[in-house]
Every structure is written in C-alpha cells, then in structure tokens.
Symmetry: D5
Subunit: 96 residues, 10 copies
C-alpha cells in the first residue's frame, strides 16, 4: 500500500552543528536501510528546497506511522501524508 509523504526539514539556526551532523548521518543510514528493504520506494529532493517527496510501501497506516516517527530528524520535519492507490490509467506494474 503506497503513501506519498512530503517532508519539510527545518533545523533551528541555534542548534548545535555537531549534533545536527550526527542526526543527519543517522537519518541517511536509516533512510537507506528502509530503501534497501523496499519500504521506502522512492525519495526525491524538491529542487532548491530542504524538502523531499517520498513514496512508502507499507502494510498499514500504523506501519507508516511507526516508520516515520522513528526518523532521527522527525522533531524537525513538517510531514504531509497522502494515501495513494492504483490509477485506472496506470500501465506500470508497480504503480499500485
């Protein structure tokens, strides 16, 4: 089951840079593990912005929630969640 999640990241100016770098590294590792597992199917940067558009493939709303709140950058992210489903005109196998 697919969801589009848009994430806008906003780290306060006075946040400790070393700690920010540590959290970003953890975020990257976490994201790549989920991408490798197939759960985080797509991630794109919005050009010019500290924001991404992602497609998640999960079994339930709860599974999506658990994945997202475990993001190391979660406290700094504004999330928009959009449930998706197969479009009647789709011909791609995996555009479920």
């Amino acid at each position: 089951m697919l969801f589009m999640v848009e994430m806008d990241v906003n780290i306060p100016h006075d946040f400790d840079p070393a700690q920010a770098d540590r959290i970003k590294a953890e975020e990257k590792a976490y994201s790549q593990t989920l991408q490798a597992s197939g759960v985080w199917r797509h991630i794109w940067r919005k050009a010019g912005l500290y924001s991404n558009v992602s497609i998640f493939d999960v079994e339930s709303n709860a599974a999506l929630h658990d994945l997202l709140i475990a993001l190391p950058l979660y406290p700094f992210i504004t999330m928009t969640v959009t449930p998706l489903c197969r479009h009647p005109s789709a011909i791609h196998e995996d555009d479920r």
Copy 2:
C-alpha cells in the same frame, strides 16, 4: 529530469456526459502512450479524490509544458508542478 505534477480534475456538473466520456477515453489513451514511452514514469490516484500524483521524465521545462497542455482534460485540471532532483540519500538507480 524529473517533475512531480499533481492534477486535480474538476468537470462542471452541467458538462455533457457523452463528451466527458469521450475526453476521458482520449486522456487515458494519451496517458498510456506517454507511460509506455517512459516519459510519464509514475501515476497514482490520491485515495478518495479525483486527483493524481504523477512523475514525468522530460528533457526540459518546455518539454513538460508541451506534454501537459496537450492533455485532453487539460482545461478541467488544476496543475501543481514541482521540479525534482536526486536526493543525497537515494540508493535507487532511477530516483534521479
């Protein structure tokens, strides 16, 4: 080069149903041709809405424009266009 395009379709209540069906059939054929060619890489329905999220792979802004204004349903669609690029954490080959 990738773009996210969100399309909200709104056909007026008093529009001729037969003509609407004809336009929708043309739209589907047009969309499937572009999907088959690889230009229209993804299309998903937003659950519950007469809206889709699509990913286009085109050579330029102009190429995207020409594709979109040729949509048979174009006069009834509100478009939101977001230029995308590769995310530094992406591991998928084709999440350019």
Copy 3:
C-alpha cells in the same frame, strides 16, 4: 485500518430538486448498507453545516477509494482524507 473522511456537500442552486432528492435517497441507502457491514464505522454531522465527519474501516487505500467514488453524491462532495492509527494512550479496544 481506519481513515477519517470529512465530506462537504455542495449541490448547485440550479440543480433539479427532484433529481437531487433521488440522489440523496440513494446516498442514504448506500451509506446505511456500508454502516451495517461495519465498513463505515461512524458518521456525524458537523453542527450547522452540510458536512459530515466519518470513520471508515477498510483493508487498503484502494478499498477506501472504491467506496468513496461510488457515493451517489460524490460529484458534489469535497473530500478530505486522513489516515489514522492507534493512539498510544488509547484504551478502547476498537480505537485501532
């Protein structure tokens, strides 16, 4: 899997009243069938408005979409869809 769906109904002033009544009667029958089956778990009127808040219990985003677009009043409804999950403080068995 639960979803909150908010529906704002807006029938044009110049729509044929007899046809509107027929559609509303079909909507009511359709809604009550889904309520009886357990899929449409809750429906409340927003006081003073021609709007409702509903809770749906479905197996997937696609199942939700199919239910909603089959609503007889669908062309006159503005939908807002919010995926829900169990709250960590919930004690009610069925607040999944």
Copy 4:
C-alpha cells in the same frame, strides 16, 4: 453531546526532556481516566503526525472547555473544536 477535537502537539526543541516526559506521562494518565469514564470516547493518532483526532462526549461547551484546559500538554497543543450531532443517515446507536 459530541465534539470532535483535533490536537496538534508541538513541544519546543529546547524544552527540558525530563520535564517533557513527566508531562507526557501525566497526559497519558489523564487521558486514560477520561477514556475510562466515557467522556473521551475516541482517540486516534493521525498517521505520521504528532496529532490526534478525538471525540468527546460532554454535557456542555463549558464541560468540554474545562476538560481540555486541564490537559497537562495544553500549553503545547493547537486545538480545533468542531461541534457534532447525529447524522440523519446514521444507524449506529451511539453516533449521537
């Protein structure tokens, strides 16, 4: 009498974590007491967000107000309050 209350929680980044945990524990206990009493009829998490949708069953606007401002997390919550009533199509006994 039912009300939908949507709560968006936002604890500042520089708030003392130990105090935050203490307040969250009090919030949970308070919520569960009200759920057990039947006043806080439903609580759901919005998937991906630090937000909930709740249904309260109270005798008056004033009773609702007194319950909400006593929430331990109240200073960190943005509230949206929507008065509800029975929908004419409802068949559930308790969708008052």
Copy 5:
C-alpha cells in the same frame, strides 16, 4: 449553551429577484420568532458586508443544527460555528 454563528450570505446574480425577496421575508420572520423566544439572543450586521454575527442559546449541538438548517436562506449561507462558554473574567449574569 451559547454558540457564535457567523453567516455570510451570497445569492447568485441570476437568481429570480421576486423569489429572493420572498425568501428574505421568510428569513426575517423566522429570525424574529427565534429572537422573541430567546433562542437567537443577538444578531449584528458586519458593517459593509452581507454577513451577520449571531449568538444562539440552545440546549445542544443538535438543537443548533436543526435551527440553522431551517433558515430559509440556508442554501445561500456559508456558516462558521464557534461553541462558547463563560469567560472566567465575565461579570455579566447572562454571558454564560
């Protein structure tokens, strides 16, 4: 129990003027009956606008809903409903 209701009236330009006048006369009579009964406690015009701010005194959300949807101008009104309660600084007996 008090509610603030803000009503923005918008009658389409092409609506039959004679019918509009008939509906407005019915609206006025209906409003004055409810004012006389004490249910519609206050009604003010927003200066310069075809809008009013009203205070209703009803026993429940449902009672409010039934009153409002019976307004002859209801199909032409955009409603905003705000539940009120006594302010801790109030000294007026009837600012409940």
Copy 6:
C-alpha cells in the same frame, strides 16, 4: 457603536510564571472595570481555546484602540476587529 473583537492569547513557554500571573490578574481587573462601566458589553470564552469573543460599545475607532492597547496582556494577544451595526431583522433593543 459596537465592535466584535476576537482575542487569541499566546504567552511564550519560557515567560516567567509569576509575572504572567501578575499580568493576568491585572487583565482581569481591567476587564471587569470596563465591563462594569458598560464599555465591554460581552465577553465569552471560545470553548477549548485560550481565546475570547468580546463586544465593545465605544464612541469611536480611536476610543476602541485606546482601550485595547491598554490591556495588560496586549503584547501577547492577536486581535481581530470587526465593526458591527444594527441588523435589519434585529428585535432586541440593545443589538444596536
């Protein structure tokens, strides 16, 4: 001459609690003096919110401004000011 004033109060989390209590006590005394004089004709709490709806009866825009900026909580309040006048359907003597 009547004005509706909506006040949303927002005291920063890190503001000294003792000073906040002192300002709130001054605010209450100030409000009750104006209520007693008839200038602050109504004040209601918006249920669930740290906001009020008030009706002021003043001789001019300037008189209203002077009253409002003298509120002890003024620096923490977001104000919305709406000039009112008698509604043609009003029957209450004092709904000027």
Copy 7:
C-alpha cells in the same frame, strides 16, 4: 471617523454589457456625490486591478454600512473594511 474600505469588483462574463455600463455610470455618479460631500475622502485604483482603496469619513459603523450597501455595484463587490484612527506619529491635521 475614518475607515479604509478595499473593494474588488467582479462582474460575471455573461452579464449584459449595456446593463453593466448603466450600473457603472450610476456608481460613478454616486461616488462623486459622496466625494464632493467629504464622506468619501479618498479613492485610489490598485494598479493593474479592478479594485480600489478608499477612505471614508463617517459618524458611525451604521453610517458606513448604509453608504456601502447603496453602491450600485455592491452585488459585484467583495469588501474589506478596516477601522482606522489617528496614528501617534501623524502630523497631518486631517489624518484623524
């Protein structure tokens, strides 16, 4: 007593042009009479828009309302009304 009134004019495309011209001529005459009397103190066009910013000098909210609803173009205007008063830094006699 001064008010800023912003007026956005929107005449439907299918409105009879001859009638529109007649109404606009009446509007102009009405406006100029009020300008000559000193009540309509200023009127400026917003560059590029079918909108104006006006300053009215009236004795009360009710006087303002009566003037505005008598505008021949009133049914086609979206109004924004802002009560003004003398600024503490003003040196102009008539910036009351």
Copy 8:
C-alpha cells in the same frame, strides 16, 4: 506616484525595552520628517492593532524602497506594498 504600504510591527517579547523605546523614538522622528516633506502623505493606525496604513508619494519604486528600508523599526515590520494610481471616478485633485 502613490503607494499604499501596510506595516505590521512585531517586537519580540524578550527585546530590551530601553532599546525598543530608543528605536521607536527614532522611528517617530524619521516618520515626521518624511511627513513634513510630503513624501509620507498619510499615516493611520489600524484600530486595535500595532499596524498602520500609509500612503507614500515617491518618484519611483527605488525611492520607495530606500525610504522603507531606512525605517528604524524595519527589521520588526512585515510590509505589504500596493502600487496605486488615479481612480477614474476620483474628483479630489490630490488622489493621483
């Protein structure tokens, strides 16, 4: 050439009061100099708000920009700039 400029002032709660007073005094002097010169043609307070509506008479966009960024309170002001021109119904000489 005239411009309407709306200024919303927002000085942070934790800003040094003595410095704030100094800046406000400079702002007042600066404003009055420009008023005396005829460049700052009007300034009104929005009733109840820490905001003003002003009319500037300048030779160019650049002249306006230079005047505004030199305001001592500039860093604390949210500006809205609207270019104006003579209204075809205006009869006042100086409503250019």
Copy 9:
C-alpha cells in the same frame, strides 16, 4: 521602472471558442507590439500552467495600469503586481 506581473488566465468552459480565439489573437498582437516597443521587457510561460510571468518597464503606476487593462484577455486574467527595483548585488546593466 520595473514591475513583475503574474497573469493567470481562466476562460470559462462555456465561452464561445471562436470568440476566444479572436481575443487570443488580439492579445498576442497587443503583447508583441508592447514587447517590440520595449515596455513589455520579458514574458515567460510558467511550465504546465496557463499563466505567465512578465516584466514591464513603465514610467509610472498609472502607465502600468493603462497597459494592463487594455489587454484583450483582461477580463479573464487574475493579476498579481509586484513593484521591483535594482538589487544591490546586481551587475547587469538592465536589471534596474
């Protein structure tokens, strides 16, 4: 003096296509005349939208207004007007 003007064009579905084509042809001719004269310095299409971003070089707000309201498509355009001036970092001669 430069202005950015954003134009969103919206021709109603039931507008006569032949008349629409005639107006669009007039619009194009009018635009090209102004471009040739140097007044309409730039015009770009927003990719995917029936909208443009334009830069005008005019002597005054009034000159801009007169140019814009003479656009054959003016009644179908929503305008946003932004006055521009030279940026302190600009090195291009003509980015005034």
Copy 10:
C-alpha cells in the same frame, strides 16, 4: 532552461551582526560570480521587502538545486521555485 526563484530573507534579530555582515558579503560575491557567468540571469529587489526575484539559466533541476543550496544565506531564505519556458507570444530572443 529558465527558472524563476523568489527568495525571502529573514535573519533572526538575535543573530550576531558581524557574522551576518560576513555572510551577506559572501552572498554578494557568490551572486555576482554567478551573474557574470550568465547562470544568474536577472536579480531584482521587491520594493520595500528583503526579498528578490531572480531568473536562473541552468541545465537541469539538479544544477539549480546545487547552486541554490550553496548560497551563503541559504539557511535564512524561504525559496519559491517556478520552472519557466518560452511563451508563445514572446519575441525576445532570450526569453526562452
């Protein structure tokens, strides 16, 4: 390929002024280098605001992204990115 980028700059009041000046100087140098290279084709100040409208000429969305996130002021800028293409009415060679 052209993009319009609107940048709103907002440096916190409590940010070290010397460091702010250093960053602004770097920003200016960086901008002028890109202008000289032809990539940053236009930059205009929005009159009265700490904002600019810029036109970039880049080979791809990714090239745009890399340029923008390298701006020394990037952490203090809210960006709006709009992909552009040649307008069918354009006569200027370089309004691609």
